[in-house]
Subunit: 348 residues, 4 copies
C-alpha cells in the first residue's frame, strides 16, 4: 500500500537522523537549555526577523495549542476558532480541558475565519444587549495556516484580522502545524517575518514537515512570553532531552532545508492535482498546499483504495465521497508517478 | 416601572419568609443535615415517587448545572446541549471551566433537542470514520424543561431521548430552573414522577418559582449520587446554614404551594398572550408556560417601554423586535390588567 | 441541647429578616446591580476608607476563596497558606479544583503565617538551586483573620507580610469569614481601613457574623478587580436575586450593627473563658475572639456533652481532648449563664 | 566537563538510533497503532506476565503522571504522595493543574511511603471526627520506584501498600521513570511481574534508561484502562508518529537490552560509591541504584566541580553539601575511572 492519507507516515528527513547520530554521545544540559536549542532559536529568530521573540520547542501540535491558549487566557476568556479548527474538532477537547470555551464560528470549505466574523462576535459580546459577564469573553483568535483544508490566508487577510484583534484586545494565535507547506506554496504572499509581525504567537510545525516530532512556538508578545517555560513544564511539554528538539530545528533551518523539502512536497501535490483534473475528477476545494481534496465516485474510490490509502473527508452524496490526498517531504517521485498513472486510467 | 422581563424580580413567597422568621432562632446543625432539609427531602422524594433518590439543595442554577456535569463526567467526556442551552450561552463557560466541552446541537425557535439529533451525534462519534479518541466523547444530554424559550417536551419525546441515552450509555440531565411553570402548564403531560423515572438527574427550580433562591437536585442514578456531597462542597454550593434551603423547599412542597403559585403565573401569562393576540401582535414562538414571546414594531415597543420592562430577545428585522414577556408567582393581577389595557390600545 | 460548636447554628439577625420582609415585593434588577447592593457597596467602601475599591457580594466562604484565587492566578502560580488554612483543609480541594496548588507552610497553634516564612519560600523559589519553572510559582499569600484558631494578626505583622508580598510580587488575600469578631476584639489594633490599605483583596464575612449568608469581597487592586464579575458568574456565585446580599450587608453596615453584635459575641466568649479558668480547665490556645479552645478530661467532656454541643478539635493525649467553644451574635445570655454554671461545677 | 548530575545528558542507546534509521522511510499509520507499537506492547505484556494489561506509550514522565492521575480520579479525589514525590515537587503543579490535590505525607531521607502512613490518612478521612465531604477524598497512592532518592521498596512493602489500598478502595500507582535501575539492582526482590500484580498502573521509564524519550504505561486495572487513549490525546501525549515510541521500547525489550544497560549503570554507580567510601567521604543516604548521595566539604566540592557536574541536593551545614552523583546506561568506564581517581586523591 502507498500512503497518501497524511504527512506523518514516515520518520524524519535523513539529515535529521544524521545529526542525532553525530551528537548522540555528547553530554548536554536538559530541558531545552543546551547549545543546540540556543542555536536553533537564533536561526528561527533570524528567519522571522524577530530578534526579541521567545522561541520554545514543544513535542506536538495539540500540546502546543493548549499550552499557548491556557497560558494566554484568564479563566473567563475563550478563543475564537473556525468550526473546523483543529482545536475544536480533533483534540479531544484539550482546550476545554484547560477550562476555556472554544467560541466556534461557521466557515466555508476553505476553513478560514474572516475579520468580519471576529468583529461581529466581539461587538455582540462587548456591546450587545446582554451584560457581558454572563458570556465567555473573547480574548484570542485561533486560526491555522494552512487551514485544515489546505487553504492559505493572504497578507491582507491576516493584516485585517490583526486589526480587529487590536481593536478588541484579542491575541492572534496561528497554528502552523503545516507551516512549511504554506511558506513553500507558489500562491502565498505571506512570509515568516510577516507572521512574526502580525501574530502575537504562532508555531512552526516540525512533525508534519520533516522532523521526527516537534513544534517551534514563536512568541512575539512579551507578556505572553513571560513565564512560558512554567507553562511548558506544567503541561507536560518540557522534554528532558530538550536538545532532540533543538537539533531537529537546527537542521531544518540550516541551508534552507525546511523550505526545500516542503516545496518539493507541494510540487508533488500539484502533480497529483493536475492528473486528477486531466482525469476529470471533481475538485472538492482548491488548495495551494500539500493537501488536495477531490470527489470520487465510490466505485472508483474502492478500486484505488486497493493500492492507496487516502483520508476520508466527507460523504458528498449517495454515490460520491470527498477524500484528502496528501504529500509530504517524504513522498517519492515513483509513488506519485504510479498514483498518477492509475488516476489517468480512470478518465472516461 | 413594571417589570415583566423575568421571574426573579421580587423576593420570595410570603409563606417562605414567614417560615424563616418562625425558625430563625432555632439552633440546627449545618451543611444541609438539619431536620428541615430532611423533611424537605422526604416531601420531594414523595412528590417524585422516587423513594431512593438523592435530593440535594444547591443555591443557584449555574452552580447546579456545572456541579452535576462535573461530578458525572470523566475528563474526556462532554455534554450534548441545544445551541441555545443555558449552559452553552449564559453561564460564562462554567461547564468548560470544569474541563468539559459542551457539544452543541442546532435547534429551532422552541429550543428543543430531538432524539434523532442525539442519535446522529453519537453514531458519528462511536461509529464514524475517525478513531473516536480524537474527539470528545458524548456522555450526557442536557436539556431544560421548559426550554429557554418556554417550550415543553412531551412524555413521548422524553421517553425517546432516554431510549437513545440508554443505547449509547449517556446520562439524561434535565435543568428545571423553571420546573414549576412546566408542571403547572395546562399543556403538559409530564409529571414529576415521569421526570424521576426518565432522567438520571434533574432539578426542581426554586429561585424562579417562589423561593428566595435554591434548586433541588434530584439524582435517581445511584452512581451519580455517590459522593455528590463532596462535589457540592468543592464547587462552593454547600451552604453553611443549609436549613435555609430546606425550609424553602419544605414550604413550597407543603400543601401544593409550588403547583398553585406557578399555575397562577401561567394563567397570568396566558392572559397577556390573549391580549397580544387580540391586539394583533405577532407571536414569535408559542409557549405553554410563563414566558411569552412577541414581535413588536419598534415604535410601539419604545412607547411600552416607558412603563414596562421586557426582555430583549432578538432583532427580527429592521423595524421589529422580539421580546420576552414573563410572569411569575409574584405577578399581581393589577399589573397584568394595566399591561393588557396598554396592549389592547395598540390594536389598529 | 445548647450549641456552642460554631457560629452558624441560627438564622440571621432579626433586623435582616425585617429588611427582607419590608422589601419583599419590590421589583429590582438582578445579579447584584440593584439599588440595595449599590447602597451596601457605598457603606462598605466608606467603612474601609477605600472609595475606589471593588465590592462584590458572594454567597459563601469557600466560593469566595476559590473565586478570588482562580481569578488572580495564572495557571502555573500557587497560593501560600498556613497548613491549617481553611483552603488547605476544609474546602474539599476547591482551590486545587481550579488548578492551583496550595503551598502549605507549617504553623503553630495560633494558625498564623509569618513574614519570614513567606520570605524563605519565595527566596527558595526565585533564587534557589533549581530552575524555578519546575516548581509552582508563589503568587499569593492567603491568611485568615481571625485564623482558624481564633488568633489575630497585629497591624505590624500585616504590614510586614505586605512588605514581603511587594518584594516578591505576591498578592495578599485575607479571608475574613469571621471578620466581625476580629474587628470587635478588645485586643486588636487592626481596622477595616488598615485591611483595605494592606491587602490586595479580602472579604468581610456575613454568614458567621449575623447574616443568613453572604461574604463581601473587597478588592483594592484594580487589576484583580477587572472582569471580576465574570469570575463570580463562572464560578456559580452570582445570585439571581442579588439584592438579598445587598440588603443584608446594608443592614449590617447601618448604625454599626455589625460591630455591635460581634462585640457582644466576643464578650460572651470571654465570659465562658473566664469560667473555664476559674474552674481550672486548661487553655489549649488563647484567643481574643469568639472562639475559645480548652482541654477537658474526657470524663468531664462526656458529661458536658449531654447538654452542650462543642466542636472537637484534637485528641491531646490518652485521656484529654481539646474542644472549641464558640459564641456568635445569636448566643443568648441565659445559655452562657447555664454553661458557666456547669463549668464552675467542674472545679475541684 | 564530565556530567554525573543526572541520567539524561546523552541521546539514546545506539541500537535505538539504528532501529530508527532502518525503519525511517517505511510508512505506517500514526498515533501508536502501528505494528512496532503492537510488537513492543506484546513484549512488555510478556515481560510483565500480564497478558491482558493495557500498554500505552507516552512521551515523558510528567505527562505520564498527570495523565494517569487525571484519568483515574473523580474531581473530589486526591492522590497520596510522599512529600518528596516528583509530582509534589518538580512538576510545576501539573497534578493540581488537572484539579487534584496531592495529599502529601512526610517521609524520611529514603523518600518512601509506608503502609501505616497511608492507613492513618485514610482512617482519618473515612472515620475521623469531621464529615469527610469537607476534605479531599484519598483515592490513589503515588510512589516512585526507585524513589527520588534512589531507594527501593521491597516486595513485602509493596504487598502491604497494596493491601491498604484494597482496604480503602485506592489505586496503587507506581512511577517507574528510573525503573530499569530498580530492576537491575542487586538489592531488589521486586520483578516486573510483581509490579504488574501489585499495582493498578505503573510505568517503565525510557527517557532515563536508554531511550531518546518515552515511558511505557502499564495498566492492569480494566476500569482504568477504559478510554485511556482519549486521556492520552486530550493531555497532549499522543505522538503523531507514535511508532517512534514503539520502536524504542521494542529495541529495549529485545534480547534483554533494558536490563543489561541499566545493570551496567548500577555497577558504575557502585564503583563510584566504593571510591567515595575509600576516600572517607560521608554517605548522605545509601542507595542500591544508579543515584548515589554523598556529603562533601564545600572546599573539596569546589575543586571537583572544576571538572565534574554533580547535582546539588542539600546544604547539610555551614561547610558541607550533599550532592547526587548519577550514572546512566551511557556512562563510560573511562569517565568513572577518572572521577574515582580524583575522589581517591581527596583521601586524607
Amino acid at each position: 500500500m502507498l500512503y497518501f492519507n497524511c504527512d506523518y507516515t514516515e520518520g524524519a528527513h535523513p539529515l535529521i537522523l544524521q545529526k542525532l547520530e553525530e551528537t548522540n554521545l555528547q553530554q548536554t544540559v536538559g530541558y531545552g537549555e543546551d547549545p543546540y536549542c540556543q542555536q536553533a532559536r537564533a536561526l528561527i529568530r533570524e528567519a522571522c526577523a524577530a530578534p526579541e521573540a521567545g522561541v520554545h520547542f514543544l513535542v506536538g501540535g495539540t500540546q502546543a495549542n493548549f499550552t499557548v491558549i491556557r497560558a494566554a487566557l484568564r479563566p473567563h476568556q475563550g478563543v475564537i476558532s473556525p468550526v473546523t479548527g483543529h482545536i475544536n474538532c480533533h483534540e479531544t477537547g484539550a482546550v476545554e480541558a484547560t477550562g476555556h470555551k472554544v467560541l466556534e464560528v461557521p466557515c466555508g470549505p476553505e476553513g478560514k475565519l474572516s475579520p468580519a466574523q471576529v468583529e461581529a462576535l466581539c461587538r455582540e459580546h462587548f456591546a450587545g444587549s446582554m451584560p457581558p459577564e454572563h458570556m465567555v469573553q473573547p480574548k484570542m483568535v485561533y486560526l491555522s495556516h494552512p487551514t485544515e483544508n489546505g487553504a492559505l490566508y493572504s497578507k491582507e487577510e491576516l493584516t485585517a484580522l490583526r486589526r480587529v484583534c487590536d481593536q478588541y484586545g484579542l491575541y492572534l494565535f496561528l497554528d502552523g502545524a503545516r507551516m512549511g507547506y504554506a511558506l513553500a506554496s507558489p500562491q502565498t504572499d505571506v512570509t515568516l517575518p510577516d507572521l512574526a509581525r502580525l501574530c502575537h504567537v504562532f508555531y512552526i510545525g516540525g512533525t508534519k514537515c520533516g522532523a521526527l516530532f516537534g513544534e517551534a512556538v514563536v512568541i512575539t508578545d512579551p507578556d505572553l512570553n513571560r513565564d512560558f517555560r512554567y507553562a511548558i513544564k506544567q503541561n507536560g511539554g518540557m522534554l528532558a532531552k530538550g536538545r532532540l528538539l533543538g537539533l531537529q530545528f537546527l537542521t531544518l533551518f540550516t541551508g534552507g532545508l525546511y523550505q526545500q523539502i516542503c516545496q518539493k512536497a507541494v510540487q508533488q501535490a500539484f502533480r497529483i492535482a493536475a492528473a486528477c483534473q486531466k482525469a476529470g475528477i471533481e475538485t472538492y476545494a482548491p488548495s495551494p498546499t500539500n493537501q488536495q481534496f477531490f470527489i470520487f465516485p465510490d466505485e472508483q474510490l474502492r478500486r484505488l483504495e486497493e493500492k492507496y490509502v487516502f483520508s476520508f473527508w466527507e460523504k458528498v452524496d449517495e454515490g460520491r465521497t470527498a477524500v484528502r490526498i496528501c504529500t509530504s517531504w517524504a513522498t517519492r517521485d515513483e509513488a506519485v508517478d504510479q498514483l498518477n498513472a492509475d488516476l489517468l486510467a480512470l478518465a472516461p
